[in-house]
């Protein structure tokens, strides 16, 4: 029914002008000598005039293109570079004609459709995962804050009893030390050392919790270097004395006052000394 000449003419017009089918006319040396509009749109410039074999992407040089072109009864999957710069795989069918070979090629519609649906569904999933990620991040931030709050609270509550243990151990050592045996004094010193270690640990936790929670509050007030050193000196002297070290203080006579958190800076100073 399709072999009527008016039908053949309609198909010819459609294939040459409209269809998403590439038509290439090859001469006896397999050189492209003619191409329809679709082929000119899709393939890289310079298609016409070059052998087809040169335009086929063949990574391992295993294709025998002249032989393929002569296998006319089947569809060959061949990859060509396209105008967009991307390689694309087409289904080629070759027809032997008096002046050489006619090559017709198109994309695999079914495959393209599957690809599109897969990409769309992956995109949907990606968007959902992006949302989940934002949500999980927010939840983690919340939990981290909670952890910091808890840490801060626990550290605060532990500080006081440890302070008491330290004070009373020291007191007993100082006041009643002579009545105790050397072994008993050593027990007390061990208590004191352990409590001091624990206090340092807790101070560290507390600082960490405060800093991480972003609530490190500075009490800013004008203070001079001399005032800051003067504030830290008695404590430092006490520690130094116990270790038999003489502490000399020498501060430049600079009366400028800066807005600082004096107690925090004194802490830094004590840590350094």
């Amino acid at each position: 029914m399709f072999d009527r000449s008016d039908i053949a003419e309609a198909m010819r017009t459609y294939v040459l002008e409209t269809a998403q089918v590439m038509v290439l006319h090859l001469d006896a040396d397999d050189r492209v000598v003619g191409a329809n509009d679709q082929a000119l749109r899709v393939l890289r410039a310079g298609t016409v005039g070059r052998p087809l074999a040169e335009q086929i992407v063949d990574f391992n040089h295993t294709l025998d293109v002249p032989a393929l072109i002569r296998q006319t009864g089947m569809v060959h999957r061949l990859t060509l570079s396209t105008a967009s710069g991307q390689p694309e795989t087409f289904g080629f069918r070759f027809f032997s004609i008096s002046s050489g070979v006619l090559a017709l090629a198109s994309l695999d519609f079914q495959e393209q459709l599957e690809l599109r649906n897969e990409v769309l569904s992956l995109n949907r999933e990606l968007n959902n995962l992006t949302r989940q990620l934002h949500q999980a991040n927010a939840e983690l931030r919340e939990l981290n804050q909670l952890k910091n709050q808890f840490l801060g609270m626990a550290a605060h509550d532990l500080r006081k009893p440890i302070g008491l243990i330290m004070t009373y151990s020291e007191f007993v050592l100082d006041e009643a030390g002579v009545q105790l045996s050397e072994q008993q004094r050593e027990f007390l010193r061990t208590c004191l050392r352990a409590a001091t270690g624990m206090k340092q640990l807790i101070d560290g936790f507390l600082d960490l919790a405060v800093i991480e929670s972003g609530h490190l509050r500075l009490d800013l007030a004008p203070a001079s270097a001399r005032e800051m050193v003067a504030g830290a000196e008695p404590m430092a002297q006490l520690v130094a004395e116990k270790k038999g070290i003489t502490l000399l203080v020498d501060v430049a006579d600079d009366t400028r006052r800066l807005r600082v958190d004096a107690s925090k800076l004194q802490q830094v100073l004590l840590n350094l000394v």
């Binding site: 599109r116 769309l120 995109n123 949907r124 999933e125 968007n127 959902n128 992006t130 949302r131 989940q132 934002h134 949500q135 991040n137 927010a138 939840e139 931030r141 919340e142």
Partner: protein
């Protein structure tokens, strides 16, 4: 609808530019118009309904009338959906009230943007809105409700044939969690059927984000 209050912000002009971008696959244009709308502080609901939903409904109409291809419709949808991500850094950083909702599309329902907007509105109001996505088996929703101890589950259904799935999903969820409130909504009710579903299934049927916000406020006041 909220009144835009930024000088120089003309909703209709921004909408036109946005729609133009959607139809010509110009994601940058869409991005710019979306951002403009967000920054006009008209509220999340307005950005979602007056910009994104309105344009997608129009895309659907154009497609129905043969004026655009399915591919253009797909691209417009994909672009619209990815734009929602722009709201997330701010949306998820808000203070929480400890409550949560699970939002899911019934099995075989592939329209997911409306449902995601619903989940985002829960977030906007301090709830956690866990969104399960298109075509989700009820089992997944049930597992998540248990894990998060959610007090609400919302089902989104766009196609009329999805209503049968709503009936079975509702029965399964109700059997597992008699206390959990069930909300149903979506485009399947655009042409009616709301009251019938409420009566037959004993669920609340809401069709817009405004109705949802009212429900959330009412719920928050009661508890």
């Amino acid at each position: 609808m909220n009144q835009p209050d930024k000088p120089g912000f003309v909703p209709e002009v921004v909408y036109r530019a946005y729609l133009g971008g959607l139809l010509t696959h110009d994601l940058q244009q869409c991005h710019a118009s979306f951002q403009q709308w967000l920054e006009a502080d008209t509220g999340l609901r307005s950005t979602y309904e007056d910009l994104v939903r309105r344009s997608l409904y129009q895309v659907g109409d154009l497609w129905e009338r043969g004026q655009i291809s399915v591919a253009t419709e797909h691209l417009a949808t994909a672009n619209s959906e990815s734009l929602l991500n722009l709201t997330y850094p701010r949306l998820f950083a808000q203070p929480r009230n400890g409550k949560s909702a699970v939002i899911t599309c019934v099995p075989n329902e592939y329209h997911q943007i409306g449902g995601k907007m619903v989940a985002d509105v829960f977030e906007l109001h301090g709830w956690r809105g866990y969104f399960l996505g298109a075509n989700t088996p009820e089992g997944e929703a049930i597992t998540l409700i248990a894990e998060k101890r959610s007090e609400v589950v919302a089902l989104s259904v766009a196609t009329t044939f999805g209503l049968a799935e709503v009936v079975s999903a509702t029965a399964l969820i109700r059997a597992a969690f008699p206390e959990v409130a069930i909300l149903v909504g979506g485009q399947a009710f655009r042409w009616g059927g709301k009251e019938r579903v409420e009566r037959l299934l004993g669920v609340r049927c809401l069709t817009s984000l405004g109705e949802l916000e009212a429900w959330i406020k009412e719920h928050d006041n009661h508890v």
